[in-house]
Structure formats: structure tokens, C-alpha cells
């Protein structure tokens, strides 16, 4: 578990913390700069039509940014592996829920319809007369 500096090798003679890991200042600024640069990239991609890849790029950049924050700002790179495991496990369970929810949605796609079912549409039209009409029609891929 000896990832950190020993007190004698502490840079610039700074007092070493009793516990935890000391992240170099240049590394914090490098990560902050990378996060801002990635934000600029992801905003720029919005104005480019890449079809399906718009979503892929946007989420890919977000995952990279999240990894940078978790590894460096949240010290996970040097932390006890169990903390990393806790975080990764929670993310995996969210992805599991996401995968099953989307699989379920896909399975019932042929039973779905465009627009709203009549009872929903009549309620909507009586409660909100200005709402666009979404007429019921079977789903056509």
C-alpha cells in the first residue's frame, strides 16, 4: 500500500500529511485545464451533425471528465482500492438498471404506438387546449 512519498522525500520540504495522499499542485491544475478543454470540445461537437455519434462523443467526453475528477480530484488513484470498488460497483449497478430498462423498452416497442393513447390525449386536450394533438397510431419503425 506504500504509494505515497516518505516524509524525507516530501517535495519542497512541505510538511507531509499524517494520512492521505498529497497531490502535486501542477497535477491539480493540469486536470482542471483538461476538464475545461474537454468542456469546450463537447460544446463544439453540439454544432456538428455527426448523426448517432453526437451522443457517443458527448457521453464519451463526459465519461473521460468523470474519470479525471474521480481519479485525481477525489484521490481514487492513490486511495484504498475498496473505495474505488464502492464507487465502481454503484456505477455498474446503475448501468445494469439502465441496460435492463432499455431492453424492456425495446421488447415492448412493437406494442407501442406513436402519439398518445386516446384516454391520455383526451385528458391532455381538456386540461391543456393548446397542446399539439398526438394521434394514436401503431408504431412503424
Amino acid at each position: 500500500m506504500a504509494h505515497g512519498h516518505s516524509p524525507s522525500r516530501s517535495p519542497h520540504g512541505e510538511p507531509h500529511p499524517l494520512v492521505g495522499h498529497l497531490v502535486p499542485m501542477w497535477m491539480l491544475f493540469a486536470v482542471g485545464g483538461a476538464l475545461l478543454a474537454l468542456t469546450a470540445i463537447t460544446v463544439a461537437v453540439r454544432y456538428v451533425d455527426a448523426g448517432e455519434f453526437n451522443m457517443v462523443i458527448a457521453l464519451g467526453v463526459a465519461v473521460i471528465k468523470a474519470t479525471l475528477v474521480a481519479l485525481f480530484f477525489m484521490h481514487l488513484r492513490w486511495d484504498r482500492p475498496f473505495n474505488l470498488l464502492t464507487f465502481v460497483a454503484s456505477t455498474v449497478f446503475v448501468l445494469l438498471l439502465l441496460a435492463f430498462a432499455l431492453m424492456d423498452t425495446g421488447q415492448y416497442r412493437h406494442l407501442q404506438f406513436e402519439g398518445n393513447p386516446p384516454e391520455v390525449e383526451s385528458t391532455l386536450q381538456s386540461q391543456a387546449p393548446g397542446a399539439p394533438v398526438a394521434r394514436f397510431k401503431p408504431y412503424a419503425p
Binding site: G20, F87, S90, L98, N116, A128
Partner: protein, 319 residues
């Protein structure tokens, strides 16, 4: 000494044990060493963060199911969000995350003044985020870009598609003349002559006497030139007047307010946490020996940033 000493070290070393408590006044009696206490606090925080990931994760799944079901709604309604404000807020949160990480480092190196400066900067970032969020929300609420049926009610002083159709069906009012000897028709407001529009969405005041109608409605009915500096005319088209608006667009705003609202509540909680850290830091409670609250508070603040990193492209950056 390792940066992460084993919590079992106490068993192998006679130097540890109850002597640790005399040496470290911050050490609670049920922990053997400062490392034991620090690791326990961090594990507890990470378990809490795991529940936070699951908490937001369920909403992200709701978002995904809605987006698969109504893709046209998301690509349409995303353009009603202000990318500039969202982008500035992203940068504000990233910079406040950076100052938070710096505050932890300054606490670790006994630089209390610098730590306090960084904590205050982080707090200012949180305030800035909420101020920008307030302007975003209030503008949208004013435009009726909200969840539920209010989304389909025209905002005060505005006309929706249904109301425009009603008004265009109304007969042309006779030209009014103030002076019968003057053949030129005088330009006087004639909205009062119009038959009352039966659409309930229009507020009674805008159907009332001329003095109560908005300048926009008067100008529309009377085809008067519109002063360009009037903000009511320079702003983008009203969503209800847009025939291209897909059905069920209100669902986008439902999930938008749900997710960004929950995130905003977390930012507010983070501000309370930061204020507490500043209060304790100013009293000299933190040092290179004991900075656990700054460290775990930082973890919380970073996860708030992390959630926003996903919210920003998913809502603001849909092509």
C-alpha cells in the same frame, strides 16, 4: 511511513495504542490511530456517495427511457435551453472543484490561510452556479417552459397558436374616426371592438379595454409598426406559436426540472457544508494532522460536479 498506513499497524507496534489519543486530541476513543479514523471516515463517505450515484442513476435511467420513447421531443426542446448559461455553469463547477481539491492540499500542508481562501472561492462558485441557475429557471418559468399543463398555457401577454387562429378569424373592425370632418382614419386602438375570444387561455385582462391590453396585442391587431427596442418583440418565437413543436414536449421539461432541481438541492447542501468547513477552518480546527472533514467534504463536492458533467451534455448539448 506509508501515505496510507495499515489500520492493523497498531497491533504490531507498541508505540501505537492509547498513547495515540494523548498525542492526537482529535482522535476519537473508538479509533486506534489517526489513519484508522481517516480511513473509516472516507469509507463512510464513499458508501454515501455510492447511494448518491444510485439516487441520480435512477433518474438517468428515467431520462434514457423517455429519450428512447420521445427522441423528437428531446432534440427539439433542447434548443430552448441556454447553452451559454449551461456552459458557464459547467466551467464554474469545474473551477470550484479545482479550488476544493486545492483546499484539501493546502489543509494537508498546514497552509490554513490558503485553504480558507480556496474554500471561500469554492463557496463563491456554488453561489455563482445557483445565481445562474436562478436566472435560467425564472426565465423559463416566465415563458411557461415548465412541466405539466402550464406548458400549454400561453404566458401573460402572449398568444398561442390556438389564440392566434381565433384572432385571425375575427372580422376586420371598422376604421374608427375621431373627427367626422377628417376623412383620414385616425390611428386609435381598436382591440376593444373585437369580439371576445372564447379561448380560456387568454387572461381576462388582455381581452379587456384597450388600456389593459399589452402593446404587442394592440400592435398585432392594428398592424402598427413595432418599436424594435421592445424586448417582447426581439425575443425568439414562443413555443406555443411554433407549429413544429412535437407532441408531449412538456415531458422534456419535467425530467429537466427533476434532474437539475435535485442537483441544485445538492449544490445548496454543498454550500451549507462549505460554510461549516470555513467556520471550522477559521477556528484553526484543521491541520496536516487532521483534515478529514475537508477531505470528505471535498469528495461530496466533486460528486456534485461529476453529476453535472453528465447533466450538461444530456440536456443542453443535443444536436
Amino acid at each position: 511511513m506509508s501515505s496510507i498506513p495499515s489500520t492493523h499497524a497498531a497491533g504490531h507496534d507498541d508505540h501505537h495504542g492509547h498513547g495515540e489519543h494523548a498525542k492526537y486530541p482529535f482522535l476519537a476513543h473508538h479509533f486506534e490511530t489517526p489513519a484508522h479514523q481517516f480511513d473509516s471516515a472516507k469509507l463512510g463517505m464513499w458508501l454515501f456517495l455510492a447511494t448518491e450515484v444510485l439516487f441520480f442513476g435512477a433518474l438517468f435511467v428515467a431520462y434514457a427511457v423517455l429519450r428512447v420513447r420521445f427522441p423528437e421531443v428531446f432534440s427539439y426542446a433542447s434548443h430552448y435551453l441556454d447553452t451559454l448559461m449551461g456552459g458557464v455553469n459547467t466551467c464554474v463547477l469545474i473551477l470550484s472543484s479545482l479550488t476544493m481539491a486545492m483546499a484539501v492540499r493546502f489543509a494537508q500542508t498546514d497552509r490554513t490561510q490558503a485553504m480558507l481562501v480556496c474554500l471561500v472561492l469554492t463557496f463563491m462558485g456554488a453561489v455563482g452556479f445557483m445565481v445562474i441557475k436562478y436566472f435560467e429557471y425564472s426565465h423559463k418559468i416566465h415563458e411557461h417552459l415548465v412541466w405539466g399543463k402550464t406548458f400549454y398555457v400561453p404566458p401573460e401577454g402572449e398568444l398561442g397558436q390556438a389564440e392566434r387562429a381565433e384572432l385571425s378569424k375575427a372580422p376586420e373592425p371598422p376604421p374608427a374616426t375621431l373627427n367626422p370632418l377628417d376623412p383620414a382614419p385616425a390611428i386609435v386602438p381598436t382591440l376593444a371592438v373585437l369580439p371576445a375570444v372564447e379561448a380560456s387561455a387568454i387572461k381576462p385582462a388582455s381581452r379587456g379595454p384597450v388600456g389593459l391590453a399589452t402593446p404587442r396585442e394592440q400592435a398585432q391587431v392594428e398592424r402598427l409598426p413595432v418599436p424594435s427596442e421592445d424586448p417582447a418583440f426581439t425575443k425568439p418565437a414562443l413555443h406555443l406559436a411554433d407549429p413544429a413543436m412535437p407532441a408531449n414536449t412538456h415531458l422534456f421539461f419535467a425530467i429537466y426540472y427533476c434532474m437539475t432541481g435535485l442537483h441544485g438541492i445538492h449544490v445548496l447542501a454543498g454550500m451549507v457544508m462549505l460554510a461549516w468547513l470555513i467556520w471550522r477552518g477559521a477556528r484553526g480546527h484543521f491541520s496536516s494532522k487532521y483534515f478529514t472533514p475537508v477531505d470528505v467534504g471535498g469528495l461530496y463536492w466533486h460528486i456534485v460536479d461529476l453529476v453535472w458533467i453528465f447533466l450538461f451534455p444530456l440536456f443542453y448539448l443535443i444536436h
